[in-house]
Structure formats: C-alpha cells, structure tokens
C-alpha cells in the first residue's frame, strides 16, 4: 500500500511536470506547483515525499535528456559538458540535469507534505 502510494506519487509528479512543461511560456520551474500538489494530495512522510518528488523529476528530466542526447549522437551534450565544465562527459551532464530537477521537486514535495494537516 505504502509502496503503491510511493510509486503513484513518483509517476504523478513526473507526469504533471511533463504536462506543465509543455507550456513553454511558463517558467522552467512551474513543476514546483505540481510537485507540491502531488505531495499534498498523496500524503507521505516528509522523507518519502522528498524521495518521490525527487525521483519523479530526476527520472523525467534524465529520460528526456537521454532521448534528446542519443538521437543527437551526443554532439551538443559533449560541448556543453566542456563549457560548464563537466569534463566533456554527456553522462555527467545528464545526471546533473536530473539532479537539479529532482532537488527542486523534492523540496517542493516536502513543502507539500508539510502543508497538509495530519
């Protein structure tokens, strides 16, 4: 049961972040709202809320980046990974992309989980 909740939260976080992300005139961090709402709606303890919020965006952003990167044969990712600088590694760049989305979403999820009356 807890596990189902956890998985559902991850899935919903990712799905809603993707959906709101389709509106590219909105700011890139608009998923803060959806991650917050998911954590508020699917109640879990703060730690778990963070983890599902984190994983939802981490998985989403990593996957989206991988799809773009592999069809591009890493041309751009290698260049960006030199500029940032991440040693020219596209895998590290993909990981950092996921990490950044995940952290913001995870924090928003804690916020959502604590916003709710116990």
């Amino acid at each position: 049961m807890y596990f189902m909740k956890f998985i559902t939260a991850i899935f919903l976080t990712a799905f809603l972040a993707f959906a709101i992300g389709l509106f590219t005139t909105l700011p890139w961090w608009s998923f803060v709202i959806t991650s917050f709402l998911v954590a508020m709606g699917i109640h879990q303890k703060s730690g778990k809320a963070f983890l599902s919020g984190f994983l939802g965006l981490f998985i989403l952003w990593t996957l989206l980046a991988i799809i773009k990167d592999f069809s591009n044969e890493h041309i751009l990712a290698i260049k960006v990974a030199k500029i940032l600088p991440l040693g020219g590694s596209y895998w590290i760049l993909i990981f950092v992309t996921g990490l950044i989305g995940g952290l913001v979403s995870g924090l928003a999820a804690i916020s959502g989980s604590t916003a709710r009356k116990n």
């Binding site: 590219t24 700011p27 773009k68 069809s71 500029i83």
Partner: protein
Amino acid sequence: MRIAPFLISTAATAGLVFVLNSALPIGKTKTPRLGYFLSPQQGFWQNAEASNASFSGNIKLEGLKSKVDVFMDERLVPHIYAQTDLDAYYVQGFIHAKFRLWQMEFQTYVAAGRLSEIAGPERLNIDLFFRRLGMVYGAEQTMQRMEKDHVMQATVDAYTEGVNAYIKSLKPEEIPFEYKLMDYKPEAWTPLKTYLFLMYMSYDLTGSGAKQDLKMSNAKNYLGYEAFEQLFPNVQDSLDPIIPKGTPFLKPSIVPIAPKDVDSPYLNKSIYSSSVESPTTPNRNNGSNNWVVAGKKTASGRPILCNDPHLGLNLPSLWYEVQINTPTHNTYGASFPGSPAVIIGFNDSIAWGVTNAGRDVLDYYEVQFKDTSMQEYWYNGEWKKAELRLETIKVKGKPDVNEYIAMTDMGPVMYDRHYKSDTIHPQYLAVKWTATKAGTGLKTFYKLNRAKNFDDYQKAIADWSCPGQNFAFASKSGDIAIKQQGSFVARWKRQGDFIMPGIDSTYQWQGMIPESENPMIKNPERGWVSSANQKATDSTYPYYLGTSNNFPVYRGVMINKRLSVMNGITPMDMQFLQNENFDVFAEMARPVLLKNINVSKLTTTEKKYVDIMRDWNFRNEVTAQGATVFNAIWDSLENVVWEDDFKNAKSPMPWPDGSTLLDNLLKNNNYRFADNVNTTDKIETIEDDVMEAVKKASVYLEQLEKDKKLDWGIVKDTRVSHLLQLPALSRLHLPIGGGKNCVNATTSAHGPSWRMIVHMTDETEAYGVYPGGQSGNPGSKFYDNFIDSWVAGKYFKLLFLSKENATKNEKIKWHLTFTNG
C-alpha cells in the same frame, strides 16, 4: 499544517529556484541560469538536433505572392525556386534566420556598438570605439540613400519580413543555443541591421586606417620624414601589379595638388602624437585571392574563375551557400546571413569574385573647436556649427552610457576631450571615411546576380563605393576581366597617411577618382587576370595608391608565376593552386639569410637549425620543420634590426613591412638600419644582425623541439573559433599548411573563408568549400561538417540545378514549401 517545517521547506524551495534561476558569477563570466539552461523542455537540450532530423515541411508565410519551393541538398544548401524576386528574398531571409539567426543578430550587435547590452561592461570599450567611428551613422546614411531606390528598398524589406516571419514562428524553447547560454532573446530584424552588417564588412576591409594613420603619424614624428620614407616606402621591388606593367592609363582628370606648406607641419616632425590603443582593429591579413584564366589557357577552351576571400575564420561561418532561382535570374554562391542576394558566385551566364583593394579611404583631421561644448569649429575663416549626435549605449546590469559625438562636415569627431583625451594630441580628431558616405553597395550584388555579360558586369560595379574591391569576372561567352572599383580619393603623395590639419580646405580631399579611371583590364593578351591585394598598378598610374605596407606583395607574385606557365588548365589544377603552400617570400629571403650566416661561428644546435632551413623545399606543409625555422629566424631578424630603432618610442608605431626589409637586404650590402643604435663602439652589419637572429631563434626553436612542436602545422596551430571564443564550440589544432605569403593564406585564426572555382562550360561546373557548415547550431551535425574537407584541400561539387532537375536529383534530401497564409 506543520508550520515550521512547511516554512523552512518552502523557503528552501524558493531559495533553490532563485539560485538556479540566476546567472551566477564565476570569475569574469557568468553561468547561464542553470535551471532554465538544463531544463530538457526549455533549455539547451532542445537545441540537440536529431542526427536524422528532417528539414522538409510546409510553411505558411503572410504576404507571399506565390508558392516557393526550397530543395535542401545533402550538405543542407537550400535551392530556392520562386516566381518573383521578392518572394525569393523573403524566403532567403527566413532560411538565413532558420539556420543562422543568432550569428546574424550578434554580428549586428558588434557593428552597432551594442555588445555591452548583452555581454556587460567589459565590452563597453569596443562599443564606444565603433560608435565614435561612425558605424551607426554610416549605416543610417546608406539606408536613407537606399530607401530612395524602390527596387532595393523592396528587396531589403522582403528579406527583413522573412527574417521576422521566422522569429515570430519561434517557440520559446526553439531559440538558438547561444541565446540560452547568454540569457537574452532575439529581437525583430530591421533593414538598418542589414546595413549595419554591410558597414561592418566595410570596417573589416577598410577600417585599419583608424589605427594605422595614428601610428604612422607617430612613426613619422619619431623618425623624421627622411628615415620614415626609407622605412615606409611607396615602392616594392617585387611588385607584380594587378594590371600588368606597361599597360597604358588614361590621362588623369584630376591632378591633386599638395599644399604649399606641406613640408613643414605635415611631413616633418609635428605636434601630433597619440598613444591611443584601439580596442580592436581589422586583421592585417584580411585580403584574398582571385583570378580568371581565359579559354586559351584551359583544357576546355572555356574560362575558369577562382576566388578565395581571406578573413577571420569563425563558427558559425560568415558565409552561407544558397541557390536562388526566379524568372529573372538563376544564381548560386556564398551569401551573407544578414543580407539578401549572393555576394560571391555565378549565374547561368557569368561568374564573379572579389578581393580587397586595400586603398586608404579613411583619414583623420584635426578640428579646432571654439570651446569644449564642441558646438562650433573653425573652418575656412569662420565658425561652423557642429551637430551633437547622441548615442545611448545600454549596458547589461549597469546604467545606460550616453555618448555625445560632434558631427562636422569632415565626419564624426572620434577623439575629443571626453574620449581618450589623455592619450591623444591634438584633442579633437574627426574621421573622414568613405564608408560613412552613403553607398549603394547591395545594389552592385543585386545587379551582379542578374548580369548576363561584360556590359552588365561593368554597370553593376560602376557605383560600388566602399570597401574598394577587385572584381574578377568571367562569362560563358569567353570574356574575362578584373577591375579595381571603389570610391577612391584622388590623393597627392602621402595625403592622408598622417593626421591632417582640418582648419580649412587646404588638406581636404580635392576630388574622387572617376570610376572610368579606376584600374581595369579585359581579355589581356597573357590569357589571365588575377589579384591578391597587391598594388593595382605600377608607378605609371597617375594617382597615389598609398603606402606600401597596405599591400601584401608575395601571393600575387606566386599566382602570376604559376599561371604564366600553366596551359590546358582544368578545375582540378585550380584547386591545387588555391591550396598551394609554396612560400615565395621564403624563396627570395633564404639566400640572403644563408649568405650572411657564418657557419663556423655557430654552435652544433644552431647549425642543425640552419641545416633544416637550408634543406627545406619552401613548402609550408603541416610537417615542414624548415618553415618553422625559417619563420623563427626571419622574425628574430626583424626584431634585431628594428627593435633598437623603435625602442625609445613612447607611442605605438608600426614596424616596417617584411617586404621593405627584404628589398633592402637584397639591394644593399650596408643597410643603415642594420646598425644597433644602442652600441656606440661598433657599427653592426647585416651579417651581425643575421647571426644574432640565428642565435636568438635557436633558443626558441630548441624549446619548441623539446615540446615536440617544431612542425609548422603545430606551431601555426590553425583554429576556427566560435564567435564567442568558447573553445568547446570551436575547432582547434587543425592540421593545415599554408601561411600569410602562400596562396593558401591560412594563419592561426585567419585564412581562405570560402574557396570557389567556377568553370564556365555550357553546364556550369563549380566547386566550393568553406571552413564551417550550413547550420549555425552547435547542436547540429551540419555545424562544422565542411571543416575537414577544407583542411584537406578538398571541394564539394556545387549543385546548380534547374527546378526540374532539383525534384529528381539524388543529392536533394529535403523539400520545404512556402505558401501564402
């Protein structure tokens, strides 16, 4: 609600979003807004173009008169087929923007002195320089003139609409990579931006005077005129001019007369001095080669035209290949993203190519103002009004900078009490420059695109004013020609080489040389025409062409030497000639060096290097160590000869040209400047200098050898840099030979920016290559895919197709249609 945890986590979320949404300073630069930049749905990942991406599609454009078909070939070259010329330029604007938008806009930011707006206060220096030089003013002048020409106005308007239609169609996530990196957005294109870009080309090709005239004034004052004349002469012994020696010229219709008092304040030591350092200057090696061989020298019996403009090598490239086909013309060639039409290319009847004329068309005049408000200046015995022009420079993260520039009849007052006043004397210098005198440049290309024969070519280039160019021409009917065309000042000797007094008309320009008296030659007996930025004529031409160090001499010598012995020429032969790495300067200079080297006085190491140089075949190939050694010894020699003569100079001065030193070493056994003025007990000879140069060069060469860098290609280290100079977006360490005195004039960041060969057979046979790629997107495989071919001296056969053939050619990969809607 658990208040405390809620507040803390909410604050943490907000804080993290804030940080990731900000550009964070790292050293002198700033990071992109990382959250935005890395966001896969908005940031840079969106610019990672799928390697199998399709470029086909149907696009609706408002205002199109009829359907336009664009066929993209496998190299991503668009072949545009339109029913009207305006539709074609509309679509050309759209396509330029689709593949090169960021670059187009960035180049106009540079030209307009707006870099600080996107890059911050560090670029303010360059912005001020361009504004005060009159770049924006000049572009406005051109625009006003061109707007009186309805055809040209409609052309530029259609192009502008095309660019803007693309910008409007862009979704936020689709903006080019560099906008995301630097965090700004594209703005609307305007006709002024097109003229700003063309103004930048004028600057790049004629703007060196903005620095050189000051440095030459310094040198003349420091050395005295007599020594100056010897070091900066107007003759070059090796000159093989564009117009063959002995060709008769028309009697001049203007005979400019030097002022009576020219000897005293102007040519001799004067009060003028400046220690000003320009923040930027055009590359000294900006230049080009072009030549045409007539049918009598080719295997096919038809002319072959060749052109390779040498400019700074950048990504995205300055050039963009395109074919434009309408009922009025069918033209292929290299275009400028930012401008309609083809700039260097060919059509069904003719081909043309350009090189820089290098003539001096920029002068400084001292202005005497009544007071520091700069509202009135003294001219011909009365006070004249000067307008104050306000230029507002926006600076990222800082308040605007308001710059007031006094405008005189001579031109904008570049230097005044406010700008660089501590480094310049006199304090007010106005710039008189043909680039700011409203030209009709674009119209020349518009007409060349449609020219059918020699007469059309002549009419097309007749009005060309700035930058002065050598227009080479070939037609299918067999004519070949070259003409140096531009708006050139009829100068008395040395006029404008130094700062001139501007208090009356005495030193003003006395007239412009009539277009009909510009150097031109058609179908010469010898069977070819050529130019490589050397002086256009020998000394029998009745006008002053300018000081010799504006004119590189050796590439021209080499090209003519080769062409004179070639017969039965094929396009393949011409490819080899464009990639020729033979250094004719070295061929002339090495014997003088060797003659003056006393081997018995050298160490084993020094002797080893002299041997490497002696065994070298004069080819600047990638692995040629002899080229490295020769250049090191020659550079050291220049240092040894000149350093003492210029050592005490407090202000910036040019050193004499390599050709001046070589000419004198070849002619004189005793060269006055060989003496080191710092040694009083001894008079050094050429031999002393050469020996010292060998010893100095050997120290440097030993270090190179230790670092395994003795190969010419490694020392030269050619690169093609991204316009933002980011190594990750550049191509570095390219294994290519050549050098500034070779036909293949490739130096470290500069060289043949477009190589083109056009064989005027019934079905045009053309080849081309440039060091870049058709896409400006660093995330596209078409971003730099021509570079390896360019390095290897290989060419692409250019697809010049009728519409019917385009639909079935196997090299056509994509089809874009544009319809009104």
